[in-house]
Subunit: 262 residues, 2 copies
């Protein structure tokens, strides 16, 4: 299944006792409808406050409910900030986490002068600021390729191999103060996207030099003086699998708001 | 001042003891900055959950703070779901309520099949439905002109004169299941916009005939079987004054979201 959610009111994807999370909401509804316990596997966790336009998850079931019926029943019973946007049958061995070959995230920033009240949970708004675009593009390009990303990861994860490949990293100007980053890779370490963007932002605001980023990429150590951008600008937009396209029929991921209006 | 607010977390504009309201937030911040008690007059109330892209309010002050300083100080101290988007000096006799000559509201509906999780507080989503556009246009046209709108008002208001003039009432198709109504008039009775739209919607869904609307407009009585559309689709977008344009330099009111993406 492909899932869209507004992460504002959740402590992230992962089941955590006593804290509202997306996974538990889905498992509750699924197990009620399917009438058996459900082990729901997602492509990966998202942190508290992070949104998804294209999280992918799977479970096994003995139910013979037709997919369209299950699809409607799920959405009729989920809270209104979680929606299943696609549901399909996968090969029995499919595993949304292990089989994921590529993930895509977007991060939205508004740095104009008119603070958008309706977007406060959906866009990072650091205040009125003029982007140095050549410098920004030089920064994102630094990270494309296969690197040890220890310097851009947070502790608290069980990851042992810190090498990841970023196949695409772009920044796009949407006008009126809006910009978005798109980053694709074979996997991301804990808080890696927000730390990469935080360090790139530090260079924009003059608190670091691009050489500091080069240094960090070469020397694999977690500095104290790092910036992690807030979660509410971040969207998990796509997960790719080699033998299955869960996004068939789903429109391309795009920002839910109208940058031209601000 | 022109004010934009997300009404989701407010019991409306008006000061009410014990309930979070927009007016009290503004009065608190204004009186602290101006260092004297403030009597803040708005063009009118908005109900709980109703949004504003262009509420207008005024107050008198003895402070000599320059406007740009006051403007920045206000926005730096207001909660992040309320923003002053324009601030100007008005003639001493200006009264945002009494002087208002025309008000404009917009109402947004999504009736496509993909429930937009990020818009759940900002658009009315009655479910998958195909609009009968000729019928819809015929319905809105019924109300243009000067009428006694008793049948389309809620009790609980102190209004005595129930006659209002609607100078513009339009429905526009934004594609992908989104539509918006724009209604302009010299004033609106309590819940009048949402009741007008509710009755028009009843005709769309086949629960009433257009003749029932004609009858209601002629006979001035409040029926029991009326539909009042929910507040979260409604935006106060503009207020016009004869001798002052509070919207100078403010972009045209427009929907903050991107209908094309759903």
């Amino acid at each position: 299944m492909v899932i869209e959610y507004d992460g504002t009111n959740y402590a992230g994807w992962q089941i955590q006792p006593g804290r509202r999370n997306v996974q538990a909401c889905l498992v509750d509804v699924l197990s009620t409808i399917l009438n058996h316990p459900v082990n729901l596997r997602a492509s990966g966790r998202t942190d508290a406050g992070v949104h998804a336009l294209g999280q992918v998850a799977n479970c096994k079931t003995t139910s013979s409910l037709p997919l369209p019926i299950l699809f409607r029943a799920l959405n009729a019973n989920l809270p209104d900030d979680i929606r299943v946007i696609n549901l399909l049958e996968a090969p029995f061995s499919f595993d949304a986490r292990k089989d994921a070959k590529k993930k895509q995230y977007m991060y939205w920033i508004y740095c104009g002068s008119h603070f958008p009240v309706f977007l406060r949970h959906y866009v990072y708004c650091p205040g009125d600021f003029t982007i140095n675009w050549p410098l920004l593009r030089e920064c994102v390009q630094l990270f494309v390729g296969t690197h040890d990303f220890t310097s851009f990861s947070a502790s608290g994860s069980s990851a042992v191999n810190m090498i990841r490949e970023i196949s695409r990293f772009e920044a796009k100007d949407y006008g009126s103060g809006f910009l978005a980053f798109t980053v694709e890779g074979n996997g991301f370490l804990y808080k890696m996207v927000r730390l990469l963007l935080g360090e790139i932002w530090m260079v924009q605001i003059g608190k670091k030099r691009i050489d500091d980023l080069r240094w960090a990429l070469k020397h694999h150590q977690r500095e104290k003086n790092r910036l992690c951008l807030p979660p509410h600008g971040l969207y998990l937009t796509r997960v790719n699998y080699p033998d299955l396209d869960p996004f068939q029929g789903v429109p391309d991921p795009a920002f839910p708001f109208q940058p031209s209006l601000f």
